[in-house]
């Protein structure tokens, strides 16, 4: 048994607090020794669920920088502590082995990922974005006005850059995505709100 050992030890800890008597338990001993709570000594940090748009409150119980338990925030008036199965499972993301440990790079034609550093990743992205931006810059458009004339107007678009933003990130991030996209010249900025 791999993971459950922790649970087993905890439970044996609980039952160890109960002194056996003729019937197998002793009420006074139970009351006196109590049941250890794994939340004892944890700091509580509220957060918000990352799934549907309910905005249910999460409460993370943290000890020594480690997540001990995650459950609903009883003080959040939306969910009053309740959580759906998705939210209730969120502690399994915190230390998931499935989460990549570094930025990953896949070269053209490659069949596997290569691990790269953050510096290298940012450098590669920025250089490529500058290259494409320069290469595909569209300075003007030709339009037909309401009176039927042809007119050259500014376009200022980097036609080769596109961005799929996100409903999965925070407002501040989402806002910076919009700002970033428009500043570098792409109006081709969409996200999964439509789907």
């Amino acid at each position: 048994m791999k993971v459950t050992r922790r649970g087993f030890l905890k439970i044996s800890g609980i039952s160890a607090a109960v002194v056996a008597s003729g019937l197998g338990f002793n009420l006074e001993a139970t009351a006196a020794q109590g049941y250890a709570l794994k939340l004892d000594g944890c700091t509580k940090v509220p957060s918000i669920c990352h799934f549907c748009s309910g905005g249910c409150g999460l409460l993370l119980h943290i000890k020594d920088g480690k997540l001990v338990h995650l459950e609903g925030n009883p003080d959040n008036p939306i969910n009053e502590g309740g959580l759906c199965p998705k939210a209730a499972s969120l502690e399994q993301v915190a230390y998931s082995e499935e989460r990549p440990k570094t930025p990953l790079y896949r070269a053209p034609g490659a069949e596997e990922w290569t691990e790269i550093t953050w510096d290298e990743a940012i450098e590669r992205i920025a250089k490529k974005a500058v290259e494409i931006r320069n290469k595909t810059w569209k300075k003007t458009d030709e339009i037909i006005t309401s009176t039927g004339e042809k007119k050259i107007v500014p376009a200022n678009r980097a036609e080769g850059l596109a961005m799929i933003g996100s409903a999965e990130v925070d407002n501040e991030e989402s806002y910076l995505l919009t700002k970033f996209a428009r500043l570098i010249g792409t109006p081709y900025h969409e996200h999964q709100a439509r789907i």
Binding site: M1, K2, V3, T4, R6, G7, F8, K10, I11, S12, I14, S15, A16, V18, A20, L23, G24, F25, L27, T30, A31, G34, Y35, A36, L37, K38, H69, L70, E71, G72, N79, G81, G82, L83, C84, P85, A87, A88, S89, E91, Q92
Partner: protein, 265 residues
């Protein structure tokens, strides 16, 4: 002192979201299991040593009306539990809050409780040789927090509290639900001396695959109340008879000898 507690499972409000099962695993650090769909949206077939509570789903289509009923399974924490009675090493005990717990220091994983629970709730981990089941989140309850399943339930199908309050709520809900579901009934209040988990069912217990009138089985009564306390004395009795015979035969023989009697051997 912790007073007795009760949990009300209002199946009429349960949406079958399974958050209770997930929250139970998260709180108790239970391992996720590999499953597949069984029927409906149900993937967990029974309690296991890593799954202490789960939802079963039951579909019914009659006269053009569809019903999709949910049932939450976990340890009922009976007042007079069969498992406790069956346990040969007194590893199972009751708390003052009404919970039935397994002391894992003592538990030897023999599985006697597994076989004798009317709902087959406890399950033995063959590697650890320990038996596991819902603890009612005793560590939370004793520290003034609701059990993990009750705490997480969003649709409000689970309620935790003092017995009187819970029973009154159950009666109110029953009266309400009866209007639409004439077969609605409470379940658990009369079973096994009264269970800690009290249910509002929308159909007969059989519909959910539940024993209608769960009691301590007669086999367990025969075993634990007759055979074990009284039957066992036959052995010393037989042994005593043999010992008695050992002496009486010799005494009588000696008497016979002195009378000039004959010896068999």
């Amino acid at each position: 002192m912790m007073t007795k507690k009760k949990v009300f499972v209002d199946t009429s409000l349960c949406t079958g979201c399974k958050a209770c099962s997930v929250a139970c695993k998260a709180w108790n650090d239970l391992e996720a299991e590999k499953t597949q769909l069984i029927t409906s949206y149900q993937s967990q077939a029974s309690t296991t040593y890593n799954t202490w509570t789960y939802i079963s789903m039951h579909e019914k289509y009659e006269n053009g009306k569809m019903e999709w009923l949910m049932f939450k399974h976990q340890c009922y924490h009976c007042a007079e539990p069969s498992c406790l009675k069956a346990c040969p090493v007194q590893a199972i005990y009751k708390t003052e809050s009404g919970y039935t717990l397994i002391d894992h220091e003592k538990c030897i994983g023999c599985g006697y409780c597994v076989a004798n629970c009317p709902w087959s709730v406890p399950k033995t981990n063959p590697e650890l040789k320990k038996t596991f089941k819902c603890t009612g989140c005793i560590d939370r309850v004793e520290n003034g927090i609701k059990p993990a399943c009750v705490y997480t339930c969003q649709p409000g199908a689970l309620h935790f509290g003092e017995p009187a309050e819970i029973e009154a709520l159950a009666q109110t809900r029953l009266a309400e639900v009866k209007k639409d579901h004439p077969k609605a009934q409470l379940y658990g209040d009369n079973a096994m001396g009264g269970t800690t988990y009290l249910y509002l069912l929308l159909e007969d217990p059989e519909f959910y695959g539940l024993p209608v009138n769960p009691t301590v089985s007669s086999s367990l009564v025969v075993w634990k109340d007759w055979v074990q306390p009284y039957g066992i004395w036959l052995i010393p009795l037989a042994a005593a008879a043999a010992v008695g015979s050992f002496f009486t035969t010799r005494i009588i023989n000696n008497a016979n000898k002195s009378k000039g009697g004959d010896l068999h051997a």
